[in-house]
Amino acid sequence: MGLRTPLFDEHHRTGAKIVDFGGWDMPVVYSSIIEEHNATRSGAGLFDVSHMGRLWFKGAGAKNFLEHLLTNRISDLQEGQVRYSLVLNLQGGTRDDVLVYRFGEDYLMVVNASNRLKLIEWFEGIRPSFDVTMTDETTTSAMMAVQGPLALSLLQSLVAARLDQIGYYYSSITTLLGSRAIVSRTGYTGEDGVELIAAPEVIVEAWSKLLDVGREQGVRPAGLGARDTLRIEAGMPLYGHELLESVDPVQAGLGWAVKSKDKDFIGKDALLQKNSERPVRVGLELEGKRIAREGYSVRSGGDEVGAVTSGTLSPTLQKSVAMAFVDPGSRQLGTQLTVDVRGSAVSATVVRLPFYRRAIH
């Protein structure tokens, strides 16, 4: 048995299929991945993301410590601002991709569940050179995401802060159902929405209330299956697939979050030495409805030029889409390739990421 989030009983009671994910027993689907996906695009989806690691860094050296660890800039974060960043190893490969929140002199880092213990051990080794404390609040708090066009209006009655006044990738310490909570305008679906961090019992109560109030408007709990198809459509990488210890952020198309010119960080020297011929992440659109799955070979003519890292039949676009790492010679938009789908060569075109972009109102 793996770790269980405070919402586990709720998932179990509502018939969710449970799988192991990063050491946690998590809901992969409640009724149908496609229904949960579509509910998130048209109404709102509720996601239990309590398995994500929540690490607090406090003390006079916290800012410099994070600046040293992270590829993106930390020192210019505004109050409540949230920033995406990579943590690299000494070889320039990716240890994790994380979000960092600033509250005064304190910083919260949200990390992937599967990397939490690895990061804690590694950070502990570096921490003594800085005046900083690290506290892991993963199992003493809970976290949920509310994502979709109805997310803000649905949630507003439970939260004190004006949600439409919180900017994209900003957060606020406020109250949820009267108890202290962090609300951020962030997510992993390509929709507008928020993520909430609060005490376990507060998140459990908010989850039930949001479903009670929202079900008729099309609000649904959504599992890891829908989370995966949503993030693929949104062109977002997932650690373990597009990001690995052996994959650096520049080849993964995340160079925008790497500030090599402005600052030093662990892994920078190795990153700058990387071979420019290494494979790069691209989006592929396949002919037909077969799914290009992780590990399938990508070919140009008869030659293998790369491999698929994630793929799905996009519920929104009704197209077979995939992310793959290919040799730079095959990266140009419009390049015609094939994917070996269990012995048959299926035509694929290199297309721009993301596959799906929401309409901005």
Binding site: V29, S32, I33, I34, G225, R290, I291, R293, L313
Partner: protein, 127 residues
């Protein structure tokens, strides 16, 4: 189709035999396990199948599964309606969601296949 009259394979195919024609599909349990079917591939008419041969593929958002022939026979019809709309398999696996019909040789042994109650108790409930 009465589920009690069908024969079942441990790999979750069902078989109905009427005269020398066998109709093959996959069970409700299999469909529920797969969830969100998006692609079905079936063999051409005329293909000769041995018992245990993989004759097709069903893909869901999550996974790819082979479908196996419960008995030997020659394919005489494939359900193109399900190929065009795989969701039919999810909603109606025993009627509109049938997959293929095969011509079964006389004297075919079906003793390795299970009854509905045995399939339910030994395969479904064992999960």
């Amino acid at each position: 189709m009465n589920e009690n009259d069908l024969l079942y394979a441990r790999s979750h195919e069902w078989l109905q035999i009427v005269g020398d024609v066998g109709t093959i599909g996959i069970t409700r349990f299999a469909v529920d396990q797969l969830t969100d079917l998006v692609y079905v591939e079936l063999p051409p008419v005329g293909r000769a199948l041995h018992a245990g041969d993989s004759f097709g593929v069903v893909e869901s958002v999550k996974a790819v599964s082979d479908i196996y022939a419960p008995v030997a026979g020659e394919v005489i019809e494939a359900n193109q309606t399900v190929v065009n709309d795989p969701s039919l398999l999810g909603t109606d696996p025993y009627e509109k969601g049938w997959l293929i019909k095969i011509r079964i040789p006389a004297g075919t042994d079906t003793s390795h296949l299970l009854s509905k109650s045995t399939y339910d108790s030994e395969v479904v409930n064992a999960h």
